[in-house]
Amino acid sequence: MTEEKETPEESPVASDEEMVKVHAELHREKPPPTMGFLHAPLVFVFLFGCLVFFCSIQLANSTNKFQLHPPEDLVKLSPEEKAALKLERKAESGKKIFAIRCASCHQLNGQGLPNMFPPLAGSEWATSDPGLITKIILNGLKGKIEVKGETWGLVPAQNMIPVPISDREIANVTTYVRQAWGNSASEITEQQVSDFRAESSGQTEQWTGEQLRALYPSGISDK
């Protein structure tokens, strides 16, 4: 490979001027037809047809009708993903309701106010039985209660009045409270709330701590 014939690299046979002329001439004249001239174009037309066919199929299959968004089955969620998304949205809605209805006493961080309103973060009243927190929201609460080792509700000003919101809103806000600030209790559904509403239809006054303790003996530890 290293031994190559020395050939002059200079002197192109045609000058540039000639080259322009020759090619311009070639461009004007069609090449003379040969014996097989019919076949080659036919083969090309056939190949080109195949290509157009293939490309059309490709376009039709993969463009999703030129929509901006990908097709359903590509973005469809599995049942678990759907449930997780639903829970997330529920908690988001609950957070808004909490900010409007509850945070004025219990505070946005769920810690309550010392000597005034009991905390929800880490409170058994909020996180034990779904019925407990739901019924308190439905009918309110009065009198003394024990939360996290302290006694609350010493004066009537600290009583809780019923919160007039729909079953769905109660389900959202209780779910939020039960899963925020380190709480990790179960979700509460709209159906459960409406059941509890039916159960407590006989209760016309606010609940007292003793009543609820009797209803849910396992929910509140005795201290």
């Binding site: 014939k5 050939t7 090619h23 069609k30």
Partner: protein, 469 residues
Amino acid sequence: MKDTAEQVIDRSAKTVVSFFVASAGLWLLAAALLAYVAAAKLTDPFFLSSCEFLTYGKVKVAQANAFVYGWGGNSIFAATLWILARLSQVEVRGRVMLLFSGVLWNLAISFGLLGILDGHMNAHEMLEMPTVVWPVLFISYAIIAFLALVIHRSRKHNDTIAPQWFILASLIWFPALFLIAWNGLEINPARGTLPSVLSLWFGQSLIWLWLTPMALGAAYYIIPTILGRAIDKYYLAIFGFWCIAALAPWSVVHHLEGGPVPMWIPAIGTVMSIAMIFPIAVASTNFHATAFKDIDKVWNNLPLRFVIFGTISYTLSSYIGVIFSLPDVAKLTQFSIINEFHFNQRVYGFFSMIIFGVVYHMLPHITGKEISKGAKSFHFWTSAFGVLILLLAYLIGGLTHGVLAQQPSLDWSSSVISSVQPYFKITKYAFIILGFSQLVFVINVWKVIFPNPFACCLASSSERKGKTA
């Protein structure tokens, strides 16, 4: 003895073309050095790790920019001016302006690269140089392009031929691409997915509509000139030209396959890539049907051998590109180092090889001095060897990378990275070979362009010796 018209043209082009070729050579070396640093960092993360301005992300980008704008830009100017002047049979005029714009272009790129290394990078593909640099680059390009168009406008014959179409197209398409991308990214920034699509489109189109037509035009000029015969099946060339013009800007978006863009964008890209088979086949037929009629001469004539290596590489790489644009294949290779294969195949295997041939053909005409055949031959074999090793490593490594990355059960660092790493080592050595070969090229070129400063001393001393003897 009266000079022929061609000698007059060559003399008029001498200063300007020499300037562009010489600076292109320097950029080539700079790019080779940066390429080595980037490749070495992939195998040894502690290599130069104490230099903040030489982190991988910066070096890699600086290398691509030095290569495309420094080496590509300068060599495109040189080849464009000379080939257009030769084909139009007109002298190169406005030489002072050309030199001035050339200096401006090179200064702007230098500042741009320093800006990249200093951390002032733009986030758009192949537009990474800092924003302030671009108006200067654009103005200097516009001046050079305008003077090249003046040469073409005052041509002796009204007819134009294939090399002129391709070279003029590349001359005009670059500013057009730049203005579209710059408008959509910087002047009136688009929102949503459009900027990322535009950025990719510019980076890829730059290679398809600026470097590629230039190299094709040069091949259309060099092959018939050296062989002394007309292009075979020349009537197809016009079809190939318009196919590239119409399809290439559409086909590049197939690189977005699987990306967060509307699905029709990569789908159209795939379809248009497949249709690119036609222009590729046309160019390949034109070049190779002509060249293989006189294969001995192709083999023995080094400039032509470089050019034919480039055209074969063009044909192969483009067909491989078509295969990799198919969605089923792209699924495997999309997020692997296969992209490096595409880039290097285009700019080293195709564009650079043809430009080497053009320079070796052009310089003896312009300067009247020969480059030694052994040096050229050495350059050819090291280049060809280096390019082959580099591309094979990227191709096989890319396929390995893509296939392994598809299996989520594999541990990433212990199995995927460790099986790709040997290929990175190979590319490091390939870049060393290529850098060495490019050094030989630059020495060849500079020796011819700049007369040996010691030549006069040697001559005078030998004269003195002769006198004393």
